[in-house]
């Protein structure tokens, strides 16, 4: 065994094969966020519905997918379902698993965001004859979304790293390709140093995006609103959403 070679680590960082793995990681994350948000939004709506069957089904979904490891979900989808004659490509398996799992978390975040918008906002919208769609689109959604950003950012950060689990079902993302390089060259620390650097860069970029979003959607809030205690429901709500 030799010593740690910084030059080798740098060369792995610029390794084209590894870079392509980074792109797969980014692709998996983005697709899972988009899919997870759409599905999660739907589940959140069901969960908030007054119909006990629909609400119960949504509850069950959230309970199930948050209560079992993503690793098992991925393995079952990839290796278990073919036993029942259901077969997807590797990348589809990874996406299905990630989206199903992420949706359960995002559903709860979406729900907490909407619940934190005070009832008075909806009442004001009704009193002004706003249609349900305008009320949702212009009144509740923007306020709920602002409250969702911090927990959403957290969840997306976790998801970005959780995509590494897809390596287990042989998706060639960053982790899997690091493994492959490592097995070829046995420069364990050097390869994983490069992979670690990529994960840190990706999470840092996301942090920066999240800060931008918070700033953009918070333009009317916190710092400026502090003057008047009467608009406190929003501030209070964001604390609840974080809890």
């Amino acid at each position: 065994m030799s010593h740690f070679s910084p030059t080798a680590a740098v060369s792995y960082f610029f390794n084209y094969f590894l870079m392509k793995g980074v792109l797969v990681t980014i692709g998996l994350t983005v697709a899972a966020v988009v899919g997870g948000l759409i599905l999660g939004m739907g589940i959140a709506l069901l969960r908030m519905s007054s119909n006990p069957v629909l609400a119960g089904a949504a509850r069950f979904y959230i309970w199930f997918f948050r209560g079992t490891p993503l690793l098992i979900q991925l393995v079952v989808i990839y290796s278990g379902l073919p036993q029942l004659g259901i077969k997807f490509s590797v990348i589809t398996c990874a996406l299905v698993g990630l989206i199903l799992n992420e949706a359960a978390y995002l559903a709860e975040i979406v729900r907490s965001g909407f619940m934190a918008v005070s009832a008075g906002q909806r009442e004001a919208a009704w009193a002004l004859s706003l249609s349900p769609w305008v009320t949702f689109r212009r009144v509740t959604l923007p306020q709920a979304f602002r409250l969702m950003i911090p927990p959403l950012g957290n969840s997306i950060n976790s998801l970005l790293k959780a995509t590494s689990l897809a390596s287990v079902i042989s998706v060639e993302e960053l982790m899997r390709r690091s493994d492959m390089l490592m097995q070829e060259h046995f420069q364990i620390l050097e390869v994983y140093a490069a992979a670690t650097a990529y994960y840190l860069i990706l999470t840092s970029v996301w942090d920066a995006v999240q800060r931008r979003l918070e700033k953009h959607f918070g333009r009317s809030s916190a710092a400026k609103t502090r003057r008047v205690a009467a608009s406190a429901p929003v501030a209070q709500a964001s604390v609840e959403a974080r809890a």
Binding site: G120, A124, S129, S131, V134, S221, R226, V228, A230
Partner: protein, 263 residues
Amino acid sequence: MSERSMARAEGATVQPQLREVPAVRMEAVYKHYGDFTALNEVDLKVAKGEKIVVCGPSGSGKSTLIRCINHIEKHDEGLIYVNGVELDHQRKNIDAVRRDTGMVFQSFNLFPHMTVLENCTLAPMTANGLSEAEAKDLAMHFLTKVRIPDQAEKFPGQLSGGQQQRVAIARALCMRPKIMLFDEPTSALDPEMVKEVLETMKKLAEEGMTMLCVTHEMGFAREVADRIVFMNEGKVVEQAAPEEFFKHPKSERARTFLDQIIH
């Protein structure tokens, strides 16, 4: 069916416009929250242009009463007519009634993520189909009326409570309502801001707006109200002109209530 309520209305103050379709007519209205009866056989008639102050101890049902008028609260039994439209839980009737009524809330309920101007133009543009320019003109007209046109580009959070409530009044007026409902509009305000809001409401009253106000501001009631409606335990206990109500309250409950709030 309405004989009794007619008798009661005539027994109260004589209204010159009584032969017209009343602005609000409630007949034997009930509202329950579980076991709690918030409205207990309420009859009320409000003529066009009339100014009503609803008062009573907390939990007496006064907020519920005015929140039922624009169907923010659903009444369980009885009849409510607003400008002749029956509030029968049908979507189109609810919409029609809400178009005729504006509401001002205790906690303002301005949209915190929109500027003052956007707060005022949203409903005229989306619900009434006004162009942006028309909606802006309309908004500036009413913001000038409540004396804060210079705050149009600010967010609600940058304004004082009194200013926010005046914006809320302007926002409601932008929909050109025929009836204004005020649900304790000054209760969340610092004392020094109460006056500016009451002045705005007085101005509105002078212009002939039909108004129902839940308020504890007895000075305002004395000066502006045509009639005081006193509620207790979900019932309208008595209604009378302010002069008479303050000098000779008929019920024991009203007497103790007045003793407690007028020092």
